[in-house]
């Protein structure tokens, strides 16, 4: 039995229905879990003696608006001796965008969760210092959501040059 198969069997045994689906795409395995148990899954994968997924390589999210559940948060885990890569993803609804924090299990989830909060607005309950990290502290909105506009400035051609020049804020001395 390969390491990944061992992992999937152990997960299904311990968590049963909370593991909604296990998908394999281009050689990578992803386990879709319910958001209530995601931190226990991470802890189990890290501390269980024959599944040592001790390294959190990446914690990110993506937005599928207007489909619900809207946000999908992906935890990229790695077992260092193989190394074996495994991904745990959980789906989060837009109106109830909260997840328990993973900083108790993996220390480096700290800034990753702050970035996901800043960019998507998903709150991590229990995070020691949840505030904006990349945008200014008083910024409104969460930029990487699909319903947040890109905020681009129209390109100036000769036909609309004067209108755009009037609106552009130039600095005074």
């Amino acid at each position: 039995m390969t390491y990944i198969e061992k992992t999937v069997t152990a997960l299904k045994e311990k968590f049963g229905d909370a593991i909604e689906q296990v998908a394999v795409f281009r050689g990578e395995t992803t386990a879709w879990v319910k958001k209530e148990v995601v931190v226990e899954v991470l802890r189990f994968l890290k501390e269980s003696p024959d599944l040592r997924y001790t390294f959190l390589a990446d914690l990110t999210a993506y937005d599928d608006w207007p489909e619900e559940p809207r946000f999908k948060v992906a935890y990229q885990l790695r077992e260092m001796t193989g190394p074996v890569n495994f991904r745990v993803t959980c789906a989060v609804h837009g109106d109830d965008a909260e997840l328990p924090t993973a900083t108790g299990v993996h220390l480096n989830a700290n800034w990753h969760e702050r970035e996901v909060f800043d960019m998507f607005g998903i709150k991590f309950v229990g995070h020691p210092d949840l505030r904006r990290i990349l945008m200014p502290a008083d910024w409104g909105g969460h930029p990487l959501r699909k319903d947040y506009p890109l905020g681009y400035e129209e390109v100036e051609f000769t036909f609309n040059f004067d209108e755009i020049e009037k609106k552009k804020p130039y600095a005074k001395e």
């Binding site: 945008m135 200014p136 910024w139 930029p143 947040y148 506009p149 890109l150 905020g151 681009y152 400035e153 390109v155 552009k168 804020p169 130039y170 600095a171 005074k172 001395e173």
Partner: protein
């Protein structure tokens, strides 16, 4: 002119006050260390021996805005950095000039989105724009020499 002929070989030269002051300003214009992103690496390359900026008197990049004349905004200015940029510009004593180096400082460059100020002239008044992504060291030197030309043409009524 007549004075020089009368004084002969005494090592005296006559010129206008404008020329003298402008010559002094251009020959030792000290840039402020304001490298933000990729253009900063090309700015450092311009100071390095291959493309020596020290021949124009500008090798000494002053970290403190109070001691510098020229602010080369090298790199993209994000919305979080814009108030800091304005504050540093305000701390520089007159006379001061600004070169917007690179496409991101001149017009927002490749990045046309919520996070980047579309052209640093929304924040500080710019004298010379240098295009390129990043501009070659030779292009930056051409921009600096263009600024020198501009300064040499300044008149007394601009600064007195």
């Amino acid at each position: 002119m007549g004075l020089e002929q009368k004084l002969g070989n005494m090592g005296v030269v006559t010129t206008t006050l404008e020329t003298a002051v402008n010559w002094g300003r251009t020959n030792a214009m000290w840039p402020m260390l304001f490298g933000l992103a990729c253009c900063a690496i090309e700015m450092i390359s311009t100071v390095m021996p291959n493309n020596d900026l020290s021949r124009f008197g500008m090798e000494l990049m002053r970290a403190s805005p109070r001691q510098s004349d020229l602010m080369i905004v090298a790199g993209r200015v994000s919305r979080k950095m814009a108030p800091v940029l304005r504050r540093l510009y305000d701390q520089m004593p007159d006379p001061k000039w600004v070169i917007a180096m690179g496409d991101c400082a001149a017009c927002g460059g490749v990045f046309n989105n919520y996070a980047i100020v579309q052209g640093v002239d929304e924040v500080v008044p710019v004298d010379v724009y240098v295009a390129g992504c990043p501009p070659r060291p030779e292009a930056l030197m051409h921009g600096i020499l263009t600024l020198h030309e501009k300064v040499k043409k300044e008149k007394i009524k601009d600064w007195a």
